[in-house]
Amino acid sequence: MAGSIPASAMIKQLTASESFSSMPPQAESFSALIWKRFKRHRLALISAGVLLLMTALVFAAPLSRYSATEQDPVNKFERPSAEHWFGTDELGRDVFTRILYGGQVSLAVGTFSTLFSLMLGIVVGALSGYYGGWIDNLLMRITDTFLIMPVVFVLILFSALLRELPALADLRSSVWLVIIAISVFAWMWPARIARGLFLVLREREFVSASRALGASDFRLIFMRILPNSIGPLLVSATLEMAFAIITESGLSYLGFGVQPPTPSWGNILESAQIHVYRAPWLAVFPGLMIFITVIAINFIGDGLRDAFDPYVVHEK
């Protein structure tokens, strides 16, 4: 085990424990430190709670006594009441239940799109920043090309096309198509961030030390540099997640995202829009859920940014 610790780190540890003899022998772990700093951001902490609660609520949807798809035309367009908390829609379906099921889809699309776009972005950014030269040049030109595309326009075009490819016919109404489409157009920002981090970190002593010990490029990229870039990448993950949720709902709202009968916050809002004059409450609730989720994610991102930034002193 001890053999895997770079020599420079061992030396640093020794000198550190000698010069700060007042410090406890067992230093705080990195994640404990970050958590401690994160907790100081009150709104971020509350937001984390809200997001957890939202997730729990959404996955408790089967507990509702209504179904997301079963129609009840006699009771259509009912106002919010004790019976139907958010009212009923044009087919008499309970809006609250539909929003819970839609939330499962929206949160899943947000999570997976974030995961995929982040992975793709990190690989592109890592190769670019680590190797430099023509690899960097090529990858960054491709990144630039994606960055000048008007996002929503190409997303609509791309998701319409994905749906018509014969090879993907079985997936035509699948949520995975939406996830793929969003990931393909969201990897550029983490790629740029990762590239910047790798450019700086590859010159650092701990990387040289590791290289001198014979570590492979793969090991240097993924075991040495990547763990040291975790802070900014986590912050960018929150931005990605906010983007993915807003984009999924937007696409579904325009009719190019999640396809009915699968409910998502976006396509619930789409069908609500048609009836906005008759039943305005239908439009209020799904959007409110998107809004609350995204603002919570943004506050968490802000909290993480502060927690990972050693220069932030909490003035107040």
């Binding site: 090309t145 996002v151 929503v152 014969p166 799904p286 959007g287 809004f291």
Partner: protein, 325 residues
């Protein structure tokens, strides 16, 4: 300066080429391609189909087709024919472009008029009551989905509130002019209020936050301390020394933001029935009118590159340290 602009334009060409190859490939991956509709039509004989294929050049290898398409697009301004409307796409886009530029020009103006003073105030008095209020509001502004906010605006200002001067709603929910009335500027402004409000709220939130942090960075610099030590009035320090330097990164941010700004047009124009490019694109996407889709994305990307160049030139004008040579 002119050599710099030439160089930047030359740098933009490979980007546009890459984008056009990408778009061309995506559209050609479509099953059936441009003849899909004719193929489904029972009245079209196989001989006629073959003739159409030859006439449209679809029997030639893909690279040849691509070069032909690009040449027609750039040199002859031939952007193809709309499948649905049977009209030249170029004509349709030139019809719609002014409405989009008008809406976004006005929204941009409103954004600057609000975001800059708010950002300055927040930076000068950080963690004051006003600053904290703005911080919270700006998080809300950044997080609110524009399509939902637009609907809520319609609910409040069109369906609920009455206009105090005339019968009817406070603000119209769609269109550029009142139907059946003579077109005049006041009527246009009245129709612009809600779309501008929906567009600007996110920008104001984002830009005022950005200006606040960039201005706070600048105000911590040595030359600001020097200016204060010289006994310059604070107003001079903040506006002449601070603001000018703090605005620089904002210009870049605005240019980088353009792709999402144009994207927002699809939502705003759909909700408010605004006859612009976004609405045209959405209608075309529903009808799978690929010539329109291709041309719109190309034009939007060209506009984005153009405004990026404008931002770079502005940057040099704002910051004399930057030399173009």
């Amino acid at each position: 300066m002119s050599t710099y602009i030439t160089r930047r334009v030359l740098q933009a060409i490979p980007l546009m080429l890459l984008l056009s190859i990408f778009l061309f490939a995506v559209v050609r991956l479509m099953p059936g391609g441009p003849l899909a509709q004719a193929e489904r039509n029972p009245n079209v004989t196989p001989e006629q189909l073959a003739a159409m294929r030859v006439r449209l050049g679809l029997d030639q290898p893909l690279p040849v087709q691509y070069v032909k398409w690009m040449r027609a697009f750039v040199l002859e301004g031939d952007w193809g024919y709309s499948i649905k409307f049977r009209r030249p796409v170029a004509e349709m886009i030139w019809e719609r472009l002014p409405a989009t530029l008008l809406l976004f020009g006005f929204s941009f103006l409103v954004t600057i008029l609000i975001a800059i003073p708010v950002g300055i105030y927040s930076a000068i008095k950080p963690y004051s009551f006003f600053d904290n209020l703005i911080t919270t509001l700006s998080f809300a502004g950044q997080s609110v989905p524009v399509y939902w906010f637009g609907l809520i605006l319609i609910l409040v200002f069109y369906l609920t509130l009455q206009n105090p001067f005339s019968e009817g709603p406070m603000f119209p929910a769609g269109g550029m002019y009142t139907i059946g009335k003579e077109e005049n500027f006041l009527d246009l402004l009245w129709h612009l209020v809600l779309p501008i409000a929906a567009t600007s709220v996110g920008w104001v939130a984002w830009y005022s936050r950005f200006l606040r942090s960039s201005m706070r960075d600048v105000l911590n610099e040595d030359f600001i301390r020097t200016a204060r030590a010289k006994g310059l009035p604070m107003r001079m320090v903040h506006f002449k020394h601070g603001l000018r330097n703090a605005l620089l990164p904002l210009v870049t941010l605005m240019a980088l933001d353009l792709p999402s700004v144009f994207g927002g047009a699809v939502f705003i124009e759909t909700i408010f029935s605004w006859p612009g490019m976004g609405r045209l694109f959405w209608d075309a996407a529903r009808g799978r009118d690929y010539p329109i889709l291709l041309a719109t994305v190309m034009i939007e990307a060209a506009l984005i590159l153009f405004f990026n160049l404008v931002a770079d030139i502005l940057y040099g004008w704002l910051d004399p340290r930057i030399r173009y040579d």
